[in-house]
């Protein structure tokens, strides 16, 4: 069972529906006793980083997510949910994240190196440039486009964490991961066949891990 964490931020319905289409057993819930029993967790999210961390702190879900991950439960963060996996974010004010992956979330400048303005948010379909095609999340993905909507992006010193990226005036980490913690900056549930395949890969990974008794 995959648990989609409901902490009051974002469109949980579309993630759940996408999992339904994949015939994956999933639930959207804020109940800790239910999430506790899940074999894999999805952290979705739309909105502001500080609000999201506040909600995770106040509900005690932050502690639950960190502990489950420590015990080996696979986790997939989507969009803001991906950003939350990292150390901290500059959004509005500097806010500490879940610290599961190394890096910092910063805002698009809106102006490139040659002084030209570009649009923020980064909104629309962009090509997925694979950096570590051997990652379980990219299994079977040859070439594809995915759907982004975000104004902040990841910067990290640890290149190993960035599994795939997109090019939008700068290099935008698109798929991240280390061990059993993964994230996508884009919305896989809204990214056509490529996005659905990435979700499927995560779910299959969860099943494998569960069967191995991790």
């Amino acid at each position: 069972m995959i648990g989609v964490i409901d902490y009051g931020m974002g469109n949980l319905f579309s993630v759940l529906k996408a999992l339904d289409r994949l015939d994956v057993e999933a639930t959207v819930t804020d109940r800790k006793e239910v999430l506790e029993r899940c074999d894999g967790l999805v952290l979705p999210g739309v909105g502001a980083f500080p609000d999201a961390m506040k909600a995770l702190n106040e509900t005690g879900l932050k502690e639950l997510v960190q502990r489950k991950v420590e015990q080996g439960t696979p986790l997939l963060g989507i969009c803001l949910g991906m950003q939350l996996l990292f150390d901290e974010s500059d959004e509005n004010t500097s806010t500490t994240g879940l610290g599961l992956l190394p890096g910092r979330i910063v805002r698009f400048e809106g102006e490139n190196a040659s002084g030209e303005m570009f649009k923020v948010p980064h909104m629309g379909w962009n090509h997925l440039d694979q950096r570590h095609p051997s990652s379980v999340l990219l299994n079977g993905i040859e070439d594809g486009y995915v759907y982004f909507v975000h104004s902040y992006y990841l910067t990290t010193e640890d290149d190993e964490v960035v599994i795939a990226s997109a090019d939008y005036e700068t290099t935008v980490p698109a798929v991240v991961g280390k061990g059993h913690v993964f994230g996508t900056q884009f919305h896989p549930e809204k990214s056509g066949p490529t996005g659905m395949k990435i979700l499927k890969n995560f779910c299959e990974y969860v099943t494998e891990q569960t069967e191995r008794g991790v």
Partner: protein, 252 residues
């Protein structure tokens, strides 16, 4: 690099697609979910559903339709038409739409844009602007109520106002070009594109694939919307994209 988006628009009345759709191969030509699937398969990057239901019952049916579309579709979709309150936005977004589009209601109460953006995030709020060239002032004026009512707003001021209030995207329809099939309104689009930093969706005037090439090659829009040329099978999303590719426009 971000691709340019092609967005078919479907008019929905009481839960059925209207406007003489000619997908003869479909079992049920008026079923929005079936049509959404067809466009998805053709490579549409997004869809817009415009609710033109006049009755309360029709509105409720719309929410059901949104739920069904959301369960089927793996691409983003926007719902517009008659959305007049935060409650309306909530019911549509909770049913699974990715964005709502505000038009007349935004002009009537601009704070609706602010409230929507604060509550759901800017990425959910599209402001649809219907504009027409005004000879007297020498620029474009904003209209509401399906183009029937002129407003005090000039398009540049209004576009900046809604951007400031948190709109995530602008859907700019040229009333002068709508239904004409003579190409998108470059004057209007350039005017808007120059004053805002949020994505602009061009609408009104698409008659063939070259019109899409033209609007994108000159960077007059980030996305382009069309209804009748796709409905009447004059062209398909697929063939428009093919022509765009051949002309060096980056598409999915």
């Amino acid at each position: 690099m971000l691709t340019k988006r092609i967005i078919p628009c479907l008019d929905v009345k009481e839960g059925r697609v209207v406007k003489g759709i000619q997908f003869l191969s479909l079992r049920d030509a008026g079923d929005p979910v079936e049509l959404a699937k067809v466009y998805d398969e053709q490579g549409a990057d997004e869809l817009v559903f415009l609710d033109i239901s006049a009755t309360h019952e029709g509105r409720k049916t719309m929410v059901e339709m949104v739920r069904e579309v959301a369960a089927t579709l793996a691409i983003p979709f926007t719902v517009g038409g008659g959305i007049g309150s935060l409650e309306d936005m909530k019911s549509i977004l909770r049913a699974g739409a990715d964005k709502v589009s505000l038009n007349s209601a935004a002009v009537r109460s601009p704070e609706l844009v602010t409230e929507g953006a604060n509550y759901f995030g800017s990425q959910c709020i599209v402001v649809a602007i219907d504009a027409k060239y005004d000879e007297e002032v020498g620029t474009y004026r904003v209209y509401t109520h399906g183009g029937r009512r002129p407003t005090e707003w000039l398009v540049t001021d209004w576009a900046q106002e809604v951007e400031r209030r948190g709109a995530g995207e602008l859907l700019v329809t040229s009333m002068d070009r709508d239904g004409e099939k003579t190409g998108f309104d470059s004057g209007l689009l350039e005017t808007v594109q120059q004053v805002v930093g949020i994505p602009v969706i061009a609408s009104g005037g698409a008659g063939n694939a070259d019109h899409f090439v033209d609007v994108f090659q000159h960077n007059r829009a980030d996305a382009a919307l069309a209804a009748s040329i796709f409905h009447y099978k004059e062209t398909s999303v697929e063939s428009v994209k093919q022509v765009l590719k051949e002309n060096g426009v980056h598409v999915r």
